[in-house]
Symmetry: C2
Subunit: 448 residues, 2 copies
């Protein structure tokens, strides 16, 4: 029963028309959702009604070129996440906003500032999903000949996060006094220059915005490669991951939780949240029919192009109904490639079967069933040390989110697994994460 | 009468607690306004009630260090403008948002994308105030030894704007078809790679967001140096400038309008909007008393520090009650330095008198008087080819904006000089600026 009193954390991963590669073609999907602010406002407010911890969005810094499927993929028109979340924060009250941003192509001063600004605007509801950018196509948009190699990107990511935290600590929490009488706007002793000089960055500081309400935005990490897990162990507070089975998820959970101690961190400081693609029906048959309806909308060129993009290799020379060939290791998203090869081998999939398998969840866990069946599955992972919560990936929008909020959330609440009201006003408070102490105040405490 | 039918354009330049250097100390000012979202929401909605064309915000990329006045200047805690304006666009309907961003320190792909996103989120209400960054203190935050020299910054600015426009044109306006039947999300013939290779940037494109509703956000320019005026002549649609007298403003107006023809542009494609610092009273005596109340709140260290920052030179070795010494030419904001030296010489000001003179408007035009007196002055510049409109800079907030909206705007409306309702839904429509044609469609038209 004590396990039951622990609460699930839920993210809502809500891209445009939905998660399924053919979502935008679904009769009830908002086909222009990726660039429709009223649509986003509606789904943000629905997710908040469902008491989700956070609204999550992925991001890339290039148009995803899909050879063979030009014009058929629903990519390319989307809002930029931080601007979108700023606007959505003005029309919501409690839900958090986790925006993806790249340590490989962005600048730390500009990035630290915009996330601090989002955290202030939203009253402490910002999260930063740290990525090193999985797609090599970004390089050409930033004057680079080639995408930096995987290991280098992660070395830069560590330094980038350190710089960002240093900048967020520029001002102590009580630096601003704004005393009209004495004419002191801030206490000059409570502002600090960073003077960082590292391998990738040289940044003086201070940041020209006050410390974020949360201290730092919640740090999220979404790569499951060896480098990614180590970055998470050192810095992340939430890890988003793709896991297919309870056993794999348990192993992953134990692995990343086990990396915390050497950085002086405790297991509860990192929330493990696998992605879940739920297809909800009043009956199991209805759920299966819903799923099949989406699968039937997959254009073959789009399915193959999606697979090629995720696996980092051109597969056009191989027969669709033959096996997945041996592949060279990618420099893009390593953990995604490994996962898909593993799935193909395990199920003995042809290329066509593999793209059909990933067309919805892209390698995340797919659960097709009734609200009770879905809640059973989620509970099973939650109580068996495979997850602290889940990042929910509705098949199409807005309907797929409505289904989850109206049918599955009440079932989770009935079981005592999920909140019926927000515990706090900030994302940290709702996730049960402590507010980081300013490093300059830490130094001071050590001296005293 | 035909002159009367032409309409004034009005910007509202609304930083935190207000424009006066001591604004935050005013009893009715919102002293934490720079970081108070509810305050910004209130003043944005007030400006929209006043039918302002746009809300304008300046920006810098470093904390403005003010030697001798540490802790006493109201700088350092502010929101980042693009995130703030995204949020404000969600709680307003018609007013535009002109955000300042730097071509010297930002990246063109990231910048083009965030402004496109703001333009989409707001339904076509975004403007970009292009600056090369006037403060050398930014360099240290971006790994540079020194602030690039003025002329170099402007060469980069031209290339940056060209790249941004090329990226905004990546998708033709009707590229997205989202045809659920044929499974075409976009027309692949209507997407274009930029493949820019220039002196400062190498950018492949396409941009990963649809063309902004306005084609491009409205391009604004705020430097009045020779380089700045030439940049405006080639690219700007609004120019914000500091002018002290009708004659100087007329000369500036004729100068910049005269630069348009050689770029194939007509005079109405650039709106000249001098800054105005209005102190409004029911009587002239009340207005003067209001102004004096603010002047009395200037801490001497803050006054001197403000002057030093604007003029780009350390003046601490000179007596406050002596004349302004001869100064070396700055590499920061050249036109601001020239303006302040000119003011000092013309009025035979001491250093103290000069900082008192600029403490409110920083070199912009100060008008202290009744609504009728202020409207007379604005009308005089407007009908005498000195201005197409004004960027209104309230002394303190929210009160100074309330005064202008409740007392001066009705007077301008009574005279037929200013709208009583917005003409359009986009910033371009309200400013009377045409929507730029996509350069790829231009090429196509030329071939046909």
């Amino acid at each position: 029963m004590s396990k039951q009193q622990k609460q699930l954390r839920l993210g809502a991963f809500l891209p445009g028309a939905g998660q399924h590669v053919a979502a935008w073609r679904h009769p009830q999907a908002q086909s222009n959702g990726a660039l429709n602010f009223e649509h986003y406002k509606q789904i943000a407010q629905t997710a908040e009604r469902g008491k989700f911890d956070a609204f999550f969005l992925a991001d890339g810094l290039a148009l995803q070129h899909r050879p063979g499927a030009e014009g058929r993929t629903a990519f390319g028109g989307d809002f930029e996440p931080v601007t979108l979340f700023s606007a959505l924060s003005a029309v919501t009250e409690r839900i958090g906003f986790i925006a993806t941003a790249s340590t490989t192509y962005e600048d730390p001063y500009i990035l630290a500032r915009k996330f601090a600004s989002l955290d202030h605007i939203s009253g402490g509801r910002a999260g930063w999903n740290v990525v090193t950018t999985g797609s090599s196509e970004a390089a050409g948009n930033f004057g680079l000949e080639a995408h930096p190699i995987h290991a280098e990107r992660y070395i830069r990511a560590h330094e980038f996060i350190d710089v960002a935290k240093g900048l967020w600590d520029s001002w102590e929490d009580d630096a601003f006094v704004r005393d009209k009488e004495t004419a002191f706007y801030y206490d000059p002793k409570k502002i600090h220059q960073l003077n960082h000089k590292g391998r990738f960055f040289s940044v003086r500081g201070p940041l020209n915005i006050a410390r974020p309400p949360q201290g730092y935005p919640v740090i999220v990490q979404a790569g499951s490669s060896e480098d990614g897990k180590e970055l998470a162990g050192r810095t992340a507070e939430v890890i988003f991951t793709a896991q297919q089975t309870l056993e794999d998820a348990q192993a992953f959970y134990a692995d990343v939780k086990g990396r915390l101690a050497k950085y002086g961190r405790t297991p509860d400081q990192l929330k493990v949240m696998p992605g879940v693609f739920p297809v909800v029906g009043i009956t199991e048959a209805e759920a299966k029919a819903k799923y099949q309806e989406l699968q039937d909308l997959i254009h073959p060129q789009v399915g193959l192009a999606l697979l090629q993009g995720l696996i980092g290799t051109d597969l056009s020379a191989y027969p669709l109904d033959g096996p997945l060939p041996d592949l060279p290791e990618t420099n893009d998203n390593k953990s995604r490639q490994a996962l898909l090869i593993d799935i193909a081998r395990k199920h003995n999939f042809t290329i066509r079967e593999l793209y059909q398998w990933i067309a919805g969840a892209r390698g995340h866990w797919t659960i097709i069933g009734t609200p009770v069946q879905i809640a059973d599955q989620l509970e099973s992972w939650f109580v068996n040390d495979a997850a602290d919560g889940f990042n929910i990936m509705p098949p199409y929008l807005p309907g797929g989110l409505d289904d989850f909020v109206d049918l599955v959330i009440p079932e989770l609440q009935r079981r005592g697994l999920f909140r019926t009201e927000y515990e706090g006003t900030t994302l940290r408070e709702n996730l049960g994460l402590s507010r980081p102490v300013n490093q300059y105040q830490k130094v001071l405490a050590a001296i005293k």
